[in-house]
Symmetry: C2
Subunit: 244 residues, 2 copies
DNA sequence: GACGAAACTTTTGTATACAATAAGCCCGCC
DNA sequence: GGCGGGCTTATTGTATACAAAAGTTTCGTC
């Protein structure tokens, strides 16, 4: 069958020599899912992963548990773990949740951000623009992700920050999944720099508005029409016998 | 040392005969933490738990991982898992986060709640009142928890619902932890029934306001004065060598 | 040729053994 | 008597073996 992905997995970075733990597996699988190298529904048997990474099932299992708690994979009892395929409905809900949480985070952040993190954010924004202009989509995604990750990290409210980290990952996954066919990249010019301006100026409500607009714009770039529910249909009829 | 808690653990319910998995361990430990039978800082060695529940370390480890992801315990590498002691700052942040999320959930819920779940909510509210009146604090907590749990479950937005479930647990833990000394119970008369009225009437913003007031009231019943930081001090100086 | 059952294979669940690390302890030294 | 080094012990990290369950194939029957 589809036995080609281990080579891709290994290509993700040198694996064999370094001391590798469950953390590395989590990072690499997460990244591969994000980059669509591991499409939804892909089976991830424990022994195979263990062979690829040169560790035993124990550590693989721990990694899979973590990935499941991050909503990257689905883990049902007595069944092989599979890359998750969030439904269209869940996609909408994830965006709604992120609007709420990230809006609040940037509102809290407005005007309270020291110069150093602000510079780091600006650098990511610049990096994203440049990556977009030279057509390097993976790099652009990386910069965008890092930017939002930084926002989460610097959230004055760490509980909300942790939630935002989770939501950023989940939205990124569904963006990769539901991106409109012809679209080269889900990029909205100026959104990030506008946000940073308002953050620096200390305008909390403007920053919240920026986040809302940004996420609305992103969501609009997706193909979430229910008539095109082939993905859902396929994953539910073909693979998932029950869904509570 | 403190080897008495396994008996308490077992008293939590019949354990030996039934088929017990990691889920049961998670439930029982969570409950014990909630009821303050397992105070913060309590060590939870894997072998001991395994002996108590009659399972091997494998399943205990899985249970501990779950508990850590629920923020019930702390799991640092090469160290025994311990019951978590959220700081005062984290307590405030948890309340803030819950205000945001639960407020949104009830706003979404207002007017869209069918009769059946509404009745279930009302029953929990009544149960809470009656438990309070007869001075049965554990039962009162149980009813209150179930009520908020039901709100989370019926959230139209399941992503927010799952987040709320987590936040309800965490706030309950810190309430138990920081409850003012003399206080018999953290109960605010009428709050829940008022919320239900507004939910049924479909007044989203009133419901959101009810949640805000309720959580503000609850937080006010806690002793979060930084001068009384003995709990933090004790747990940090006495047990935790490093804190990232 | 289609259907169904039984063996067979694959894969996960659990227990256990061994290695590595951290904590506690004792003893010698200053 | 206090302090530090090394030893002992307790506990977690990892690998592996076996059991149970799910999935797959094959074969016989209708």
């Amino acid at each position: 069958m589809n036995n080609a992905w281990h080579t891709e997995m290994l290509a993700e970075g040198r694996v064999s020599d370094r001391r590798i733990g469950d953390r590395d597996i989590v990072d690499k699988v997460r990244r591969a899912v994000l980059m669509q190298r591991l499409p939804p529904g892909t089976k991830l048997p424990e022994v195979t992963l263990g062979e690829v990474f040169g560790v035993s099932r124990s550590v693989v299992r721990k990694a899979l548990t973590r990935l499941a708690s991050e909503h990257v994979i689905d883990q049902r009892p007595n069944q092989v773990a599979r890359v998750r395929a969030p439904s269209i409905e869940e996609t909408r809900e994830t965006f709604d949740a992120r609007r709420l949480v990230e809006g609040e985070v940037v509102a809290l952040l407005a005007g309270r951000l020291p110069a150093e993190p602000l510079a780091a954010l600006a650098e990511q924004a610049r990096g994203e623009v440049s990556a977009f202009e030279r057509g390097d989509e993976p790099a652009r995604i990386e910069h965008s992700l890092t930017l939002h990750h930084l926002l989460a990290e610097h959230s004055p409210n760490r509980v909300l920050g942790a939630m935002l980290t989770d939501l950023v990952l989940r939205t990124s996954i569904v963006i990769a999944l539901y991106k409109r066919a012809g679209l080269a990249s889900c990029y909205l010019e100026g959104d990030h720099s506008r946000l940073l301006t308002h953050l620096e100026a200390g305008d909390a409500e403007a920053a919240r508005g920026d986040i809302h607009d940004h996420l609305n714009g992103l969501e609009a770039l997706l193909d979430l029409s229910p008539r095109e529910a082939r993905i859902d249909l396929k994953s539910i009829l073909g693979r998932a016998p029950e869904q509570a």
